[in-house]
Symmetry: C2
Subunit: 412 residues, 2 copies
């Protein structure tokens, strides 16, 4: 029988009623003839409670013990889901990560999946079991200790199972009903996308769209796993949600698929840096070591051996960045006159695989912002994305204007 | 280094502060030179929450999934305790049941321990680890599924580890400071015992003293594990608590060590049963199959082929007992005129290994009750115990009078 993977996030299994509702959805797919692998998160709030205890005891904790503690929430949900399915007369059983076993490396709290043997679960499917409920987010290290995959890791667990079992699709049930052209709180014209390409979803995820963990999208892209994001609070339907799939499966697509934004960006400028070969490495090496996630970088034209260097990073990393650069200056590794941090900026991005084949997207974006009187402070582009830093007070206006300019309220 | 086992119950690890307090006690023993195995229960209330969810979903649940769910609480405490010890610079790590592995049979929810390999943990002790924190109450079946040992099973886990690792002692930390001559709520003259023999503790445990799980005492007796029951809320001291040990280690002991009682006993009488060989089996077979725990049994002298048969059982099993006997009558297996249940009774017992060598204890007990005008309804005796059923309203009076008569307020 074909295999379907269904993943339920914390809000979808927050209490017994919701677990029952999720189990009914599983029942619908079983009735269609699928063997189903259900991946569950912890009941919402439970993981935070466990993490809170660990941090209260030991802020700099042993990651192995952290993993042993925080994996408990998913184990509970897995057992409860299996019991609920059994109560509906659907043959089901639960697996904890080590029972599968989902093997990972030893990078505790951020482990990477190494293999998922399928014999055990497939053997049970062959004997008539219809649903394997697997605790998400967790695995076992070569040393036999429990590992976890990092927050949101249950998405990655689900995609990895879909790849290992060659599943027809991986349905991610969450509390939003799909991926939108932009945040509906910013413009009521935001429209749910029926389909989106892996690459676009990856850009959106890394731009702060919290629908899917970035790693799960990477994994889905690598193994070509069809991902569907949908809400467990809507009525079941074949058209529900957004399908994240390979570009080739999207017949008609717009040049721009979505507008993303981030409020938490800061712009930092090193004024009058002594320019010389290797200066970029001398600046960004220490920032990287200090754990600063530098996003955009621009360098102005050098005059008389000096240049201005501007970059953006998350607002909460500004102090860390300033410290790292000051220390580099004190060591004599770099030389600059001043360091200016501007935390009143926001990043707005247009994302679309259509940009690859169509020119003029950047020009249209810049003209739209200019027409609204919005000044662009920094520009960065990739193959399928254009991002700009602007004054934060214009952020909503910019998103609305770009959404209109690229006609995202209309279907392709 | 000598090994000590320390077990902390749910109230002793109810929150982070209490876990810290428990960890300090562990630290004191480590400082004395012990390698310590700590067995932890779930934080108080957690197991009940998990059991509640399981029962809400499925009253007649799959015991394998029940075990997978309810074992989660101990795993959390084990990790938190290991982190707390590490924070105190004590080398420690946690083990879940399947990691040891604590091997059990497949009797889910009431599994029996089959073996505890010591290589793994002893290897870590040899490398400098000082504390192994083990999640209590759980193990792994031959099929690789999680099992649990039944409520209170962490006591049994602790004793089994003490036996397997040849520990010097097994300290059971709980919310009472030891074993008393009787319930201090009934008489202020109740006195904490410094020592009590395994056999006496077994009788007291099965009579409803909730200090220790009966199975853990049986196991301690079989492997001669010295058990100490003490409170985690008292100041540490070598004299704290009550030592449960072999009879030989108790130099002076009274004839009677303690007075136990149970309010939850019912007396049932089958009136005018047709007496014939095998009639007892015909009555008590169906009761056993129905899960009725019959305690005392008396049969009056038969007259003209008929007899009265009286037995006691827990009050909440009366309906089940009546149903089983009615059905046996309908099948024609037994024949009686009437069935009378008296739920206004209580059981009072005197327990002491000294009874073996000293006569007159029963006579003294009966006279004491008679002097107080208390009528005895049923009597049952074992080698080291005399139990009587009396009217419930006289229960406190009987306990007080017997406590005085056997001078239990005075040390041996």
């Amino acid at each position: 029988m074909p295999v379907l993977v269904m993943k339920f996030g914390g809000t979808s299994v927050a209490n017994i009623d919701r677990i029952r509702r999720a189990a009914k959805r599983v029942g619908l797919e079983v009735a269609k003839g699928y063997d189903v692998i259900v991946i569950v998160s912890a009941m919402s709030g439970k993981t935070n409670e466990l993490v809170g205890w660990v941090n209260e005891i030991s802020p700099l904790h042993d990651a192995r013990e952290y993993d042993a503690v925080v994996s408990a929430g998913e184990n509970v949900t897995a057992g409860l889901m299996a019991l609920t399915l059994q109560e509906m007369d659907i043959p089901a059983r639960s697996w904890q990560g080590w029972q599968v076993p989902l093997k990972t490396n030893s990078a505790h709290s951020a482990a990477r999946i190494e293999s998922i043997p399928t014999d055990n679960i497939n053997g049970r499917f062959a004997q008539g079991m219809r649903v394997a409920v697997v605790a998400g987010f967790q695995g076992i290290s070569p040393e036999g200790r429990i590992t976890t995959l990092g927050r949101g890791g249950s998405d990655t667990t689900a995609v990895a199972f879909a790849a290992a079992f060659d599943a027809e699709r991986c349905d991610i049930y969450t509390d939003v009903d799909g991926v939108y052209t932009t945040d509906p709180r910013i413009t009521s014209k935001a429209r749910k996308l029926d389909k989106i390409a892996f690459e676009e979803m990856l850009e959106l995820a890394s731009l702060g769209a919290k629908v899917l963990q970035t790693r799960s999208v990477e994994l889905a892209m690598r193994y070509n796993v069809k991902l569907r994001v949908l809400s467990s609070f809507e009525e079941p339907s074949d058209e529900a949600g957004t399908l994240v799939c390979a570009e080739e499966e999207i017949m008609e697509s717009k040049v721009v698929s979505g507008i993303a934004y981030s409020r938490d960006e800061a712009k930092m400028t090193l004024i009058s840096v002594a320019d010389r070969p290797g200066i970029a490495a001398a600046i960004f090496g220490p920032l990287s070591e200090a754990g600063v996630n530098v996003d955009m970088i621009i360098q102005n034209i050098a005059e008389e051996g000096r240049t201005d260097m501007t970059f953006s990073c998350p607002t909460d990393q500004v102090l860390r960045a300033e410290k790292a650069l000051r220390e580099a200056k004190e060591r004599g590794d770099i030389n600059y006159h001043d360091l200016v941090a501007d935390t009143n900026v926001a990043k707005v991005s247009a994302v679309g695989i259509g940009m690859r084949s169509q020119s003029g997207v950047a020009a249209k974006m810049f003209k739209t912002l200019s027409d609204e009187g919005i000044n662009i402070k920094v520009i960065a582009t990739s193959e399928i994305k254009i991002s700009v830093l602007i004054d934060r007070k214009y952020m909503e206006l910019a998103v609305q204007a770009l959404h209109d300019a690229f006609e995202l309220d209309k279907a392709a």
